[in-house]
Homo-oligomer: 447 residues x 2
């Protein structure tokens, strides 16, 4: 039984892909959604999994369950698979294994990965945070570092275990540094005997001259003050030149003189660079489309590819511009933008099927939020007909908190996150401090 409906293939079930599938599921098309994991991840809260504040199931939802209503309409197939290549001429994608999938329309929402600016050897020493597996790896390192510090007998050996370096002061880096400071100062004290966890150093290294560079300078200043109040050492204007198992080497500038510094640390977290998914390069090879410096696909105003109106690229993988009033403006890599692109790509696909012209993408910016730690956040809202509304501190933090709970998928997740946050707020405990570890005793004793 073959269907004569147009076949739409959506790659990736992040914010963009999920929204596109939802928008298309009522249309007379045959949809296949491919994702390499079985869950939609609420990435804005992933740092809480990495810092042991939330469990993985609290910030993620099984894709099949999330899309169960759409499944009932009978035109959606979900496959957990990895897309390894795209052949735009043949209109097929290759999956891991030997399979290929044919499509009439393709929406690529494969997201972003970490970029080490050509220094991929740093990745083993400074993991980044994009997936649940990344979050578990970082959690194991952070929790494990205090354990190693407690075991260390020699202070020279101990110090690097008590020094935590976060590279990159965007929202993720700021959240990580603020939360790690909270763990050291509030969660762990009195639980160790040889070390004083409050003595841990949390260092935030940033190449530019301010933290949260995507915010207005006044909020950056507020954020820096709040970080320092939480005990984070903030070093701006510092360029990282080396990362190895023993720590970080970086350069600062004193006028014309560059000074090289060494920061011994066993726990380094990478929050500096983001690059488009490797599927961007696959698209470039197959269609000749240009990529920007971060490996993102430079899309047409309607999010399609030049010469390939049947392919749209959305979300963090797209170097898109917003076409509202005035000059087109670059679209930031944030979840509301991905959702809006998902809706636009779906609408344009349906326009095209009914012979209408595609519309350019117009990003509606509602503002920008970042949290720094307990009771502190910065909020920069764009209120229609009013303008910018900027505030920081306790009320910004409350606003951040409810906004994030509101956008979480699934009532159960909202409930669990609320309980976990209330619990953490009153007790300073972090509910997810357990680290799963494979058994090794057998090998160690027997070998």
């Amino acid at each position: 039984m073959t269907s004569s409906k147009p076949r739409v293939l959506v790659i990736g079930c992040g914010f963009g892909g999920l929204e596109a599938v939802r928008a298309l599921s009522r249309a007379d098309v045959e949809i296949t959604l491919v994702d390499r994991t079985n869950h939609h991840l609420f990435q804005p809260l992933l740092y809480q999994v990495a810092t042991a504040g939330l469990s993985a199931p609290a910030v993620s939802a099984p894709i099949r369950h999330t899309l169960r209503r759409e499944m009932k309409r009978g035109n959606l197939t979900i496959l957990q698979a990895e897309v390894t290549d795209i052949d735009a001429a043949a209109r097929r994608v290759a999956l891991d294994g030997a399979e290929t999938l044919a499509y009439d329309h393709l929406i690529v929402a494969a997201g972003a990965t970490h970029s080490y600016f050509g220094r991929d050897e740093w990745s083993v020493h400074a993991p980044g945070l994009k997936t649940l597996a990344d979050a578990f790896a970082i959690r194991a390192r952070v929790i494990g570092a205090f354990e190693r510090a407690e075991r260390a007998v020699d202070p020279v050996e101990r110090e690097p275990w008590m020094t935590f370096v976060v590279i990159g002061a965007g929202p993720t880096g700021v959240e990580m540094a603020g939360t790690m400071s909270e763990i050291a100062r509030h969660t762990l004290p009195d639980e160790f005997r040889r070390i004083d966890s409050k003595q841990a150093r949390i260092v935030l290294l940033e190449g530019s001259d301010r933290v949260l560079g995507s915010f207005v300078p006044s909020l950056s200043t507020k954020a820096r003050q709040q970080l320092m109040r939480l005990g984070v050492e903030v070093f701006t204007g510092c360029k990282v030149t080396g990362i190895d198992a023993g720590g970080v080497t970086y350069e600062s500038r004193d006028g014309d003189v560059a000074r090289t510094h060494r920061l011994p640390s066993r726990t380094v977290i990478w929050a500096a660079g983001v690059a488009g998914s490797p599927l961007g390069r696959a698209l470039a090879r197959s269609t000749g489309v240009a990529l920007d410096r971060a490996g993102r696909v430079i899309v047409e105003p309607d999010l399609s590819l030049p010469g390939h109106p049947e392919i749209a690229v959305i979300g963090d993988l797209a170097a898109a511009r917003s076409h509202g009033r005035g000059e087109p403006k670059p679209v930031p890599g944030v979840s509301p933008a991905a959702k809006q692109m998902g809706r636009t790509a779906a609408a344009n696909l349906l326009h095209r099927l009914s012979g209408q012209p595609a519309k350019p993408f117009h990003y509606i910016d509602y503002g920008n939020l970042a949290t720094i730690g307990r009771n502190s956040a910065v909020v920069d809202l764009t209120v229609p007909a009013v303008g910018a509304l900027r505030f920081s501190g306790y009320f910004a933090w409350l606003f951040w908190l409810f906004a994030h709970i509101y956008f979480l998928i699934g009532f159960r997740n909202r409930l669990i996150v609320m309980i976990d946050w209330a619990w953490a707020y009153w007790t300073y405990e972090r509910s997810s401090r357990v680290v799963a570890q494979p058994p090794r005793a057998q090998e160690l004793v027997d070998s």
Copy 2:
């Protein structure tokens, strides 16, 4: 600053080790607790992590947090480390890394691991369930099998992905099989398009002639009926002779004739054999103590080792006997027994320090519970002055439920587990279906 207090070393923070530390923390001794993980695990609910019903943090508690009150007394050091060997003559243990730890008194509570009856090559195809890492691995296989079945185009390829085999019908095997059937019949239907998850086969293979062999035969019969009502195929009297990537080979007996059967399956779970931790062999080498067939240490009536009153072995690693009225009886490998041994070992240690004789261990058996699935369980209680109280079905299940919530460590865990269970009961959803997976796209596209 050296302490002249007796140094007590406790290896392992399961039910036995935790109880021993608690009992000793008020005494004038210097305690070191070594565990290779950072958490105490509530093993009776681990199968729920493996079957996506609970998150890992809900069934485990950070050791340091659990023992924070004891830490305040100033005589407890907790180290996350792996004990690799024991030298009873020198009274030292070796840790991973080059460290050693000296002791005056040693309590070994290192627990048990899986035993494949000499067929260790089966372990890659049929993982067992002892640690959080094991539970995550099993969850990934079970959830992943339905995904692979949905991807399979050929029915011959699909069938082994839709067949789940649990080997061993003790409490863990019965719980796993019952829950997997519930997932296939109630959680997943309507979430797939090409497969009908209700068609999945769940097969429980048991070598002996009944399930739940540690219960009285009448409850075994009830359990078997409840399993079959849940759709589990129960094969007793079947001896597994081979496990590979494609399935299980087993023998059944028809009078004197042995028949060989082949069950194609991609998801096989091992719940059959348990063996003492490899540290049992280390003790045997160092002290000459005898091990039983399962590698457990045959202890003296007071849980110490022959010729080594300063060493006690407790919990699943001990082959202990209960010395009450009548003949000494073997102690089962259950958590109440481990806790009681922890208290006896601590008491005997303090007796010895004050020059009193050690007392033999007396196990007080309160009964035996096992759950089978939604609304079904078997309960065999020993009520003092009344005798045995046996029941099964809905009330047994409620009893099982509240007993497990009651014994969970930490108020927050009790709350989260209650919410998750209530949620699962009314919605049939399982809250922890997410599987963390490391990113592989980069390698696949680039190579």
